[in-house]
Amino acid sequence: MTKAKDLARKAANLHAFIDQHVPKERLTGALPDISKDYVKLQEEVMWGGVWQVPGLDITLRSLATITAQCVNGWDFGLQHQIRVGLSLGMSPQKIKGIFLQLLFYAGIPATVFALTQAQKVINEQKMWQEEDREPLKAEWLASVEEKLERGRQIRRNTWGRQADVDLESTLSQELVPETADLVDAYNYGEAWARGDLTPKERMVCILVALMCRGHMRQLKEHIGYALNMGIGQREICEVFSQAGWYRGWPYVEEALEQAKSVFEGEG
């Protein structure tokens, strides 16, 4: 039996670590006065519970949560989760890399908004600012064709041959070929080639973005690619369960339905 008291204690322990850089006024903010009951729920369910469930490490939980917040688009939510991510040890460039990756899954406005929030949070701490002064040196290729080729290689090596076949024969390749080439070139050929996120981290971002916007058919395909990459079944399910708290639980049920059918197909 899991006792509420234990959850509250676990929440307090986690807070002591991840809130170390939260400005005082945020910690002593108005929420407890607005609804003590909500705060109790949040502490026991989220910080004492979901965030500490086995099966997915806390940095990937943070990444999944930041992604969900990017799709949501609330400034306070993004700021808070970016701070948690930085406190967990993610570098400023990694945080920005998440939002760059999401350009292709949540759209330009979501990326622009999230990057702006990230910079605000990074500027709160000297050490984060200093780390942020070393931007990634990306190796930009000179033509769309070269980018497409590098993207194909990356896709084959990380997601497997089937992914490459699926993604070569999308409807967008057939119906809006010029734009589809640009997407593929810049997504797989440039964003994926960057060193700011690992392939696993990128995949977590994509799974969450697809779930949070309800793209179930595409999510199903990507669950297959995630398995090909070596991400475990349990990890995939925990990614959904983590992000779902920041977007709504019905999304988790839908995503798990897709996951189950992929797992069963694989035996």
Binding site: G73, S172, A191
Partner: protein, 263 residues
């Protein structure tokens, strides 16, 4: 195949035109690499792709931003639309049309931001002349006029589908109000052409993921005179402002309709 240098050149030229009326200096980019991708891919690529003219791309983008609801995004795209030469009343017309697809708050916020941007320039303020609208006196009249317009623009099949909607059956009073004001009044406004309205509606349905209704509207779009290519490009354009997976979903619906019609 485009070299990156070509994309950059095209982008710089288009931005010089689009950004001529921005009343403030662009802030230092948070992530220079993102700005680079945005320039090459969006301004050098997508906005200039064949198959859909710049004005209709602007309509699709404003509709996507309205659904997104970020103030900075709506503001920026309203300004771009005005710069391209879309009239202030047309810009407002987009948000009025979207009332029926994205809801009251999205429209109210869009209209408020539109007015602020229009007020930035004398020439836009001057052009901001309210339409002379014939408001009908009864819901019945509106429903009648709406039926006529619906058939005229979108065809008999569209009319039949709206007459048989579940809303008509289960929430008939509200449904009559929607149909009366939407089809009988808003569709009759002269600010937007039927084609422009349809572009806004396609973008809104795609961005909110209403795939069943989107499929019907792809059919209406073809009837109103948008080509197969134009429909696809509306999705590709709006998708950049909402996320590419929406484009794949929308194209799947569109492709079904194209097949049914032997296109």
């Amino acid at each position: 195949m485009n070299t990156v240098t070509e994309l950059q050149k095209k982008s710089a030229k288009l931005r010089k035109f689009f950004d001529q009326h921005i009343p403030y200096a662009r802030p230092t980019p948070v992530l220079a690499d993102f700005v680079r991708i945005q320039h090459e891919l969006m301004w050098g690529g997508v906005w200039l792709a064949d198959g859909l003219d710049l004005r209709l791309r602007s309509f699709a983008t404003i509709a996507a931003q309205c659904v997104n609801g970020y103030d900075f995004g709506v503001e920026h795209q309203v300004r771009t639309g005005l710069t391209i030469g879309i009239a202030p009343q047309q810009i407002k017309g987009i948000f009025i049309q979207l009332l029926f697809y994205a809801g009251v708050p999205a429209t109210v916020s869009g209209l408020r931001i539109a007015q602020e941007v229009i007020n930035e320039r004398e020439e836009w303020k001057f052009a901001d002349v309210p339409l002379d609208v014939d408001w009908l006196n009864s819901i019945e009249d509106m429903l009648n006029q709406g039926k006529t317009l619906r058939i005229q623009n979108w065809g008999e099949l569209a009319d039949l589908e709206f007459e048989n909607s579940l809303a008509k059956q289960l929430v008939p009073e509200a449904s009559d109000l929607v149909d009366g004001y939407h089809f009988g009044q808003v569709l009759a406004l002269a600010d937007l052409s039927p084609k422009e309205r349809t572009v806004c509606i396609l973008a809104a349905l795609m961005c909110r993921g209403h795939m069943k209704q989107l499929k019907r509207h792809v059919g209406y779009a073809l009837t109103v005179g948008l080509s197969r290519k134009e429909v696809c490009e509306v999705f590709a354009q709006a998708g950049w402002y909402r996320g590419w997976p929406h484009v794949e979903d929308a194209l799947e619906e569109a492709n079904e309709v194209f097949k049914e019609r032997g296109l």
